[in-house]
């Protein structure tokens, strides 16, 4: 097994941290954009860029509620995203076992 076989969407430091952080929440829970940003330590622009890629792949679900200053964006890991992280973790484990 080679690193090419690892999910390229997850195998990026920032996105790996985003997915791992969201996966620490119980299934069915969402995290506010601001708390996620605080925990990951990315700028809002960078976080949006990474989230958009994950959302396009169906790994995360973002939801915006309210308008103006009262608006709130939440991010949740989807079942597809959780499965992708499990697959990535298993692949990583196999890869490390073979080193």
């Amino acid at each position: 097994m080679t690193t090419e076989e690892l999910d390229p969407l997850i195998h990026v430091p920032a996105r790996l941290r985003i997915i791992a952080t969201l996966a620490a929440l119980p299934d069915g829970d969402a995290l506010s954009f601001t708390r996620l940003q605080d925990m990951i330590g990315l700028t809002p622009g960078n976080l949006i860029t990474h989230l958009r890629k994950l959302e396009d792949a169906g790994y995360v679900d973002t939801e915006k509620t309210g308008n103006g200053t009262a608006s709130r964006t939440t991010v949740a890991l989807t079942h597809v995203g959780r499965t992708a992280l499990d697959t990535y973790t298993a692949a990583l484990r196999d890869l490390l076992a073979g080193l």
Binding site: H11, A14, A20
Partner: protein, 210 residues
């Protein structure tokens, strides 16, 4: 780190370490039952039950805890509530969804249970039960037996076995501790519950490191 780390080569060992560290840190930040909280809880129990025991030991006949002891008890409980609320607010900040709704439902079930414990104490007083029961054995043991039994059943439903063990041990401690009498029950349960909380905190730390 930025969006341009796209092309950054991530070594598998570094990826595994990053995944483990991020997961551990996130779990710790979302955890509502932190070991530190249990250690503080152990100290609170020891102080609360300890001062009540100091105020009632040697009473013949038993009349109940002194006013100063109750003042210390309520002050300690107030500090405890503030500490728990601070931990809770930090852990749940920005979290929404199923578990937030579940926590509200849990509170809706457990708060009335707590209240009925003390309503029943009033009924015992009204029925003419002795001070040894109304202000001794009952308030020391009943809250733990009643709320602990509910917590044990709740955790069985969630298959949360370490907490089932803790709740059952606390209920057993309160029931057996009641044999120590209206004064001794405060000391036995205070020390026992303190030990149980410290053991549970140590168990949690051990499980995390395993």
């Amino acid at each position: 780190m930025n969006a341009s780390d796209e092309g950054e080569e991530l070594d598998p060992r570094a990826a595994a370490a990053l995944l483990e560290e991020t997961t551990r840190r996130a779990q710790r930040q979302f955890d509502l039952r932190r070991p530190l909280l249990m250690v503080i809880g152990a100290a609170v129990v020891l102080i609360a039950y300890g001062v009540l025991w100091l105020s009632v030991r040697g009473q013949h006949p038993y009349s109940g805890p002194a006013g100063w002891a109750l003042a210390v008890l309520y002050s300690t409980l107030l500090v405890w509530i503030i500490v728990v609320a601070t931990f809770y607010r930090r852990a749940t900040s920005g979290v929404s969804g199923r578990s937030a709704r579940q926590q509200k439902a849990d509170a809706a079930a457990f708060i009335p249970i707590w209240i009925t414990v003390y309503v029943f104490q009033g009924a015992l007083h009204h029925a003419g039960a002795s001070h040894a029961i109304v202000y001794g054995i009952y308030p020391a043991a009943a809250p733990i037996i009643i709320v602990g039994s509910a917590a044990a059943a709740y955790n069985v439903a969630k298959e949360n076995w370490p907490w089932v063990g803790f709740a059952v041990a606390a209920v057993a401690l309160a029931a057996i501790g009641s044999f120590a009498g209206p004064a001794g029950v405060w000391a036995v349960i205070g020390i026992g519950l303190c030990v149980l909380l410290l053991a549970r905190a140590a168990g949690q730390v051990w499980l995390r490191r395993a």
